[in-house]
Amino acid sequence: EDVEVVTETVATGPSDVSFSYIFPDYPNKEFPAGSVIEVLVGFSNNAEVAYNVSGIFASLNHPQEMKYYIQNYTRGEYGIAVQPGQHTTLAYRFVPDALLDPRQFGLLISMDYQNELQNFTQTFFNSTVLITEKPSTFDLEQFFLILFAVGIVGLVVFLVQGKLPKSKKPRSNKSTSSTSSSSVVSSDDTSDWLEGTSATSPKLSAKKAPSANKKEKLN
């Protein structure tokens, strides 16, 4: 038991600090795009001197080529002193852009900390994560599917109505258009009083109209 304690305390340089982390809301590292991702970072100071944690920053990178940065996230400033032998937990939040493609990305999370002599930066999280689509109550795809279905139903109704009117229209004309019949010109109305004029035979207009006029003059 004693040996275990000794091995824990013997540490030199920047390796005398240790990090731990957890993504409380997304433990399997699948982050919905556009939502706030919180990471809790544990910082243990096993050294003889105090360390000051100045900030945490993260970036989203290409999963295979980590040197390609896709998004940089706002640096969190802390300025918390961690005394020798102490441990502190820090919370860092970032939001993967809502327009990110749902696929794998590389995520780097680093911490800046310093003692009296030196500054250190350590990347304590360097791994691929899965960005997923944000679960949304309003599904655009479904919306357009429904719109399409409504359109088809409307088309069917329109077509069916177009085939029916012969049985329906006369009835409706007789019943409703009694007062406004002056605007509706049916063939029955015109046949009587327009007989003998050019209006009854519009096709014979050019050639026979002059002769008809002559006959009228003669009469």
């Binding site: 038991e1 304690v5 731990s20 982390y21 957890i22 409380p24 809790l40 970072v41 544990g42 918390i80 102490q86 441990h87 502190t88 937990t89 820090l90 919370a91």
Partner: protein, 167 residues
């Protein structure tokens, strides 16, 4: 196999005067072994002359053991009574990293350095549905449409093709 704890003091909703505010103390064991004799006491909301009234829960927590890979939490519900900025301190959790370990380890909770308690008026202004404003807007819109419509309906009732009805 030793325990490694992460401790968080979590406030999800924006604090508003007179509204219940939930504060969660969550402890995660991210180590390889169980942690023993966990205890914390929070003093942010219990100071003398405090403007926070504790409605539910307690400001301290105690657990005998927390297995690796699990978490426990304790919620505290308070009601702030005045608007303003209140400092928050990192609550300290004490625990033993293993059953044999007699030394007590401490971890300070992740928390905000301060929180702003919003007044009721500000909160209402920010969140209300603005029914009164929308109502006025709709009424004014209706007014500008109703006048032409009334003229049109009067015309339709009394005239046919621009000629006054006889009856």
């Amino acid at each position: 196999s030793k325990a490694e704890l992460l401790f968080q003091k979590k406030i999800v909703d924006g604090p508003v005067v007179g509204k219940e505010l939930e504060i969660s103390f969550v402890i995660y064991n991210v180590g390889e072994g169980p942690a023993y004799d966990l205890a914390f006491t929070d003093s942010d909301f219990t100071a003398s002359g405090s403007t926070f009234e504790i409605v539910k829960g307690t400001t301290n927590g105690k657990w005998e053991v927390l297995e690796a890979g699990t978490n426990v939490s304790q919620t505290l519900t308070v009601v702030p009574s005045t608007q303003g900025i209140y400092p928050l301190t990192p609550t300290v959790l004490s625990y033993r990293k293993s059953q044999q370990d007699d030394t007590i380890s401490y971890t300070a909770a992740a928390s905000y350095s301060g929180m702003y308690v919003e007044s009721v008026a500000d909160y209402d202004k920010r969140t209300s549905l603005h029914l009164k404003e929308w109502g006025t807007f709709v009424l004014l819109c209706l007014g500008s449409v109703a006048f032409p419509i009334s003229i049109l309906t009067y015309y339709k009732m009394n005239y046919v093709d621009g000629i006054k009805k006889k009856n």
